[in-house]
C-alpha cells in the first residue's frame, strides 16, 4: 500500500505506524515483532526489535534491506531508520553441553 499517497493527511508517526503494521505479520511468522521507539528531531526513526527478532542473525538484514528501504521509500520525510535494541542476545548457546558436545 502506498501510504503517503493514500493517506496524505496522516502525521509522520501515523504513516510510520501504518507502514510497520504491514510487515508485522511477516515478523510474527518468525515469532518476532517491532515497535517504534521515537522519531528524532532530524527525522531518524528509532525502532526496537522484540520477541525472537532479538538476537536473530537476520534481524539486521531485515532492518537494512527491508524495513529501512520500505519506510524511506514510502515516507519521504524519513532520513534514516535505526534499531536501538540493547538487550543481550537471547539465542546464546545453551549453558549445558549437548550430548554431541561432550568432548
Amino acid at each position: 500500500m502506498l501510504v503517503s499517497l493514500y493517506m496524505p493527511t496522516l502525521t509522520l508517526e501515523q504513516k510510520i505506524q501504518e507502514t510497520i503494521a504491514e510487515v508485522q505479520p511477516m515478523l510474527g511468522l518468525h515469532g518476532g515483532s517491532i515497535e517504534v521507539v521515537r522519531i528524532t528531531p532530524d527525522r531518524v526513526v528509532e525502532l526496537r526489535f522484540k520477541g525472537t527478532c532479538i538476537g536473530c542473525a537476520a534481524a539486521n538484514y531485515t532492518l537494512e534491506y527491508g524495513l529501512k528501504e520500505m519506510l524511506m521509500i514510502k515516507i519521504d520525510e524519513i532520513e534514516d531508520v535505526i534499531a536501538v535494541n540493547d538487550e543481550p542476545v537471547t539465542h546464546e548457546a545453551p549453558a549445558i553441553p549437548l550430548p554431541y558436545q561432550t568432548a
Binding site: L2, S4, L5, E64, Y65, K68, E69, M70, M72, I73, K74, D76, E79, D80, V81
Partner: protein, 245 residues
Amino acid sequence: MLVVTNLHAKSQEADILKGVSFSLKAGTVTALMGPNGSGKSTLANLLAGHPAYVATSGTVSLDKKDLLEMKPEERAQAGLFLAFQYPASLPGVSVSHFIRQALNAQEKSRGEEITGVAPFIRLLRTHMKTLDIPTSFAERSLNDGFSGGEKKRMEMLQMLVLQPKCIILDEIDSGLDIDAIKVVAAAVNSLRTKERAILVITHYQRLLEHIKPDNILVLQDGQITRTGGPELATDLEREGYGRTS
C-alpha cells in the same frame, strides 16, 4: 576520451558498421544522426558490449584502454553508460535494488566506500524529484508495466545516480512527449561537465534544441558520411539524409 578507429562490425553475419572512426572528447556533447538501419544502435550496443554485435576489425579505446577487450561490466566500471532505446523490464527486481546494486558494484570496483541504504535512498529521492518521478516507483519492479516515457526516465535515473564519465544515449527521445523531453534533456544537461563526454543518438533535431551538441556526426550505411557543428542538424532537418556529400 572515447576513440573509435576504423570500426567494422557485424550482427548475424550482416556487415553493419563499415569503417567508422570518430572520437568523443571530454567536455563535449556529440550528436550521432542517421536514417533507420544506418547502424546507430549497433554502434551503441557494440560499445556497451552486447554479445549479438561483433567487431570484426578496428579499435575502440576508452581513456586509452582497449574497450573491446573488456566485459560489459568492466566497461561500466570504467565509466561507460548506455541508455537503451528499448529498456528491458526486470519483473521482481525493484528500481531501488537494481540501481543500488549497480552503484555498489561500481564503488567496489573502484575501491570506494559502499553507499549504504539510507544515503542511497536519500540520493535516489533527490534525483527522482529532478526527473519528476514519484518516489513510490522505487519499490516497483524495474520497467515492469512502465510507459515508454517512464522507462526513459528510469534510464536517466540510473545515469544520474551512477554519474558515468562517458554517456551514450540511444534515442532517448523516442516515445517521449514534449514535457518529458525537457525533463530528460535537463537531466543530461546537468551532467555536462568538462570531465564528461556525451554521445546523443537521435533522429530528430527536436532533442538537439534542448541538448545543444558541440559536434554532429551523420552515419549512413555503416559509415560516417558528414560531420559538422550544430548547424548541420538544421540542414538535415531541411534536406533529409539524401545528400551525402
